[in-house]
């Protein structure tokens, strides 16, 4: 007989964590999945009890039970609410790792994690191909696009999305860009897959704004941060990516590493933990990982630290205040959607708001449940389309109810999800990245100041 502890070793390693759940049920109140399903299996308490059942041998694993682990956004809302702070997200990922180990990784996913994610050239070529071939896209590409939530819930949506694939990826655009003055501080740009392939204009805005902040951006040949692989229980693939990235950024040892994707930022910061897990343990020096992680900055942090001073100097309005009409800068009503990876993984929700409040001509409105997950969560949007759409509905409702005309966020995955929700509901509210707003507002301010 197989010992269940061995069989589910990733989970049994977390036994102590599992035991800390007091079954109070409070996580129900914040779990976006539970709010839609109203079923215990969709809430932290249920997932934990299932994990407990597996470890104790009382329950077994079957396809039917996959949902306990797969239908989780890893949004950590439960962790924040739980008084015991039970790390449900880690338990869920451990569950996924167990399943991956037992079932093996599908060839498609293996191809994606091992061939596409590490190499942005190859990945880019594949996507391009998909753009031209439309319906006849090879499995790997479909898989890869789904992995990021780029490929839709319906064929129609996929077509639409594929049409949205930009003519030029960010890296292509940046390679043509004139390099900034070399006297500046250096910031190595971590270009997330979403920014590179779907939202190049966001990346461009990042580079421009970084320049305004006094940074010259450095582009390196790194791969994906590894979060999609990690979240799918492919720990090793994530670790390979992490190692590669650490090595690549060792080429610019003195510069900070900046990214405009909050999910990438939070995951990069977690490299030390990721690399200390499983069999890969010790393959790369802990100190190397630590020093890498300590250089990582979510762009929001840079903006939050500096934007205020910088902007008010630029515009000649030293005390830019909320809602104030900046000379002739037209005011807009803005609300903010917290990516889980910004607010809960990195705890920087207030910084983002500081930035917004410091920008000229902005009336900042806090929407209801701003920190609730939008249901995007990378592949979740596609793999659990129905659930994702229902979760999104609530988000869209809240965005609309805020009466803002612009919703801001800092993660391409959220951006994609928000846009699709707003579009589907016929709303004209625009969803843009924080850095785009910064550039836009400064641009307008400069213009109006020079008039």
């Amino acid at each position: 007989m197989v010992d269940s502890k061995q069989m589910y070793e990733e989970l049994s390693d977390l036994s102590a964590e599992i035991a800390r759940c007091g079954r109070c049920g409070f996580c129900q109140s914040v779990c976006p999945v539970y709010q839609v399903s109203a079923d215990e299996s969709g809430v932290a308490r249920g997932r934990i009890m299932y994990a407990k059942g597996l470890v104790s041998g009382e329950l077994g694993f079957s396809r039917r039970n996959e949902a306990f682990f797969s239908e989780c956004l890893l949004c950590r809302a439960c962790v924040d609410t739980c008084f015991s702070g039970v790390r449900t997200d880690e338990i869920v990922v451990a569950g996924r790792r167990t399943l991956t180990r037992i079932q093996g990784l599908s060839p498609v996913y293996r191809h994606i994690f091992e061939r596409l994610l590490p190499d942005h050239h190859r990945f880019g070529r594949f996507i391009r191909l998909a753009g031209t071939m439309r319906r006849m896209v090879p499995d790997q590409i479909v898989g890869a696009m789904r992995m990021f939530g780029w490929l839709g819930r319906s064929m129609e949506r996929s077509e639409q999305l594929l049409q949205e694939v930009p003519d030029e990826f960010l890296r292509e655009r940046l390679s043509k860009r004139e390099n900034a003055r070399t006297t500046m501080k250096q910031a190595a740009l971590f270009i997330g897959c979403g920014t590179n392939f779907m939202f190049p204009h966001v990346g461009e805005a990042t580079v421009e704004v970084l320049e305004m902040l006094g940074y010259e951006t450095l582009i390196l040949e790194h791969g994906c941060c590894g979060l999609p692989a990690y979240a799918h229980g492919a720990l090793q693939a994530a670790q390979v990516l992490a190692r590669k990235n650490i090595e690549e950024f060792a080429k610019a040892p003195d510069s900070i590493i900046v990214t405009d994707c909050s999910s990438c930022a939070s995951f990069l910061k977690e490299y030390p933990r990721i690399l200390s897990m499983g069999e890969e343990r010790g393959q790369i020096g802990a100190s190397e990982a630590e020093s890498f992680a300590s250089r990582v900055r979510d762009l929001t942090e840079l903006l939050g630290d500096r934007a205020h001073v910088f902007l008010s100097a630029r515009t000649g309005h030293r005390h830019a205040q909320k809602g104030e009409n900046m000379g002739s800068v037209p005011g807009i009503r803005v609300t903010f959607h917290d990516p889980c990876h910004l607010s809960r993984y990195q705890r920087q929700a207030s910084l983002a708001r500081d930035v917004l409040r410091s920008l000229p001509g902005i009336d900042f409105i806090e929407m209801k449940e701003a920190d609730w997950c939008c249901g995007g969560a990378g592949a979740f949007a596609v793999e659990h389309a129905d659930l994702s759409l229902k979760i999104l509905e609530r988000k869209t409702r809240n965005v609309k109810a805020s009466m803002a005309d612009t919703v801001i966020t800092t993660c391409p995955s959220c951006l994609m999800q928000l846009r699709s929700g707003l579009r589907d509901s016929g709303s004209r509210i625009r969803a843009i990245h924080l850095v785009e707003l910064v550039r836009e507002r400064i641009g307008i301010a400069i213009e109006s100041a020079s008039l």
Binding site: G22, R23, A38, E40
Partner: protein
Amino acid sequence: MTDKRLKQKFRRIVGADAFLDNPAATATYSYDSSLLTARPDFVLFPQTAEQVAQVVTLLFRERIPYLARGAGTNLSGGSIPLKGGAVISLTRMKRILSIEPENFCARVEPGVTNLEFQQALSEHGFFFAPDPASQRVSTIGGNVAENSGGPHCLKYGVTTNHILGLKLVTPDGNIIELGGRALDAAGYDVLGLLVGSEGTLGIATEISCRILQLPPAVRTLLAIYDATEDASQTVSEIIAAGILPATLEMMDNLVIRAVEEALHAGYPTDASAILIIEVDGIAEGLAETVRMIEDICRRNRVREVRVARDEREREQLWAGRRGAFGAVARLFPNYSVSDGTVPRNKLPEVLRQVSEIGKKYALEIGNVFHAGDGNLHPLIFFDVRDPQQTERVHRAGKEILEACVAAGGTISGEHGVGAEKIDAMHLVFGVNEIELMRRLKNALDPAGVCNPRKVLPESSSETIVPPAQSPRHSSEPASDGIPSRRTYLPKNIDEIASLPHYLRQSGKSIAAMGACTLFEYLPKDIQRWKKPHGIICSPLMRSIVEHDAANLTVTAEAWLTLRELQERLAAAGQFLPLDAPSEATLGGIVAAGLSGPRRHLYGSVRDLVLGLQLVTSDGKVLRAGGKTMKNVAGYDFGKLLIGSWGTLGIIVDVTFRLMPLPKASGALIASFQRVEDALEASKRILAGRLNPALLTLMNGHAAAALAMELAFSKPDREWSLILGAEGSDSAVQAQLNGMEQACRACSGDVSARVDVSRYYSLVDIVTRLCYPPAGQQWFLSLWLSMPCGSMSDGLREVEALTGEMTSLIVAHVAGGLICTHLSTAEEVTGGACRCIVDALGARLPQSTITVLKTHTASAESMPFIVGRSAPSSWLKAVKECFDPEGLMNPAISLW
């Protein structure tokens, strides 16, 4: 039916995605927030009452045990399917069906969480008083089933005081309605029995809740102590000083530290204890109350008193309290929470005992609890992996409950008995009480399928009854006859208890008689009625058993009159806020269950009775409830006695909760040409959150009678509003001013003012006018209880029907009650009386009508109550559980 076919049927009823039976899914319905587990065979998620009914019908037919489940946060194992079977999860029934400010009512489906409900209400300026710490997740259905409490229950009462009606799927799958939207429906309070029955008597699929207006002002204080005794002494003194805060919560050092670490609520971690005290009400009075509380705190060596400056600070203070259970959860692997409740003045003593018990068993115990209610929550910490320690926890838990009971308390204030506390039921109930509860359970759930093995101690009848033999016999009440009636004058309970036994042998019936003020119906005139053979009247039993002034409770024998009681209480600065004729006996008042003019402010008999003792027709003496503010141990069968008109048992003593006499009071009388204007003024007064003590509307005849008694000049307009306020000086002034303004704005004219010296005479006269006044021949006297929002309809109907006759109308606008007495110079036939009553019943379908007095000619055929608060079969079942042979007051039938 085969398993497979059965499952198919269930799937067809609720939909394939709403039926789960795989092991992992059922495992997630095997637990709640208690320590027990047991797996169901399958789980269903119905979405409508009809689906619930269909599912239950099938389960009943197949004799499969089942239970309803809300959020699964109860702490007593109530939603653990100990016998397997089906879990019916109500989490997908979460619509708020209506919010009706005019009726002070909102209807919800059971799966709505308490907090969602509060949020929706607050948009209308209302709230639902029960606020369990679990409100973020626990469902209204669960709150109803557990009769949940929360911090604000100190002032506002627990869930049972705030439920107006239920749509219920009965244990055998029928859909019935209990109660409605009216405050005090006449008849057996089956609704009151259902609330707190822990899902063992049916599944609530729709709940009508009483909602209240958010208080205009709130102050929240944090009092920090270096010694726990000082904190608990403060609690006792605040209560004894006659202050009724909205909340009075206490936490000891261990919990304070845990909360600070987890939640940063701003509590000082070196304090021995803190109190969170909240007062609410009219802004004008609050500053003074806060000052008084601060003084008491200081007298008891408080280290510091902080007053929350804004809503954010208040929220922060409360976040710490709400998160307390959870916060301690991080410190220890497991905890067990006890829920014993004691009279409030026993707190310091019992807390000391709790800490000794902790020492004795070498266990860490933390305390966070509703101090104002005397509801303790000792948290015993342990590690379930250590079996020896766990055993010690069980023993300690038991000793704590024993200590509570010994101090005059009970085993559960709000968490319920469920499965975990069944053993402790014997601590508070004797075999007779448990047998009665069992009889009620068996009568309402004859197959024993509805949440079995909960609440009631195991007995042989627990086994599921096979379909063939579930007869419910109905026995005819004792034979009619007009014997020579005898009056018995027993001197004590024992003598009373021996009487029924003696009478029963000869099949003779009996009724209790009080002072015959309310009991127009009771045997005065031998010709008319199915008379009881014997009358029990015990004027000797009129002593006050105990007046616990510090706990604000009194226990008195049933034949004591209200006047005598009030006089005794007044000496201690307290009173029983029940308005009834002052010569009425307490037993009579409770048995009649009628409310009075100040009901809106103070509640009804059902809200104020904490416990009572009764003698049943088989001569058994039963005790229901106790003297604690909260008590959810077992079925609340005492509620059934209230408004039972002597048909269930003889009430021998009653324990009431009391109120401190208000410092100030005052009233004014405004008169109006049109009834619409008077009602509009009332509406504005209520919407202006003035919280009036009196808000009674009278027609010209009634007002004239009032004016005569008070030696006022008779108002020259047809309608008069009697408006009263009680509280502190400034609050009373502010309220009267507000009321006066509202009246003037609706073309009302203030015709008289009543100051404190005559205020109570006014209340007394208004109360008496609700009953047919002497000196005139009233051929019909009716009380109509209806939703507050239907008052204008009600008044219109009453006026239209009574037409040319002389009618006296007294309407308690916020209580939803119209009392009317009719007289006429012409000859009245019995048929005419019946006609009036029937027509009113038909036109006011949402109301119940009590016929207090009727013309002799119609007496035989006139029902006592028109309109049912529950289906007749249930009312009858209740009667049969108490009095199977129909020996108790056969003059009245309430089913």
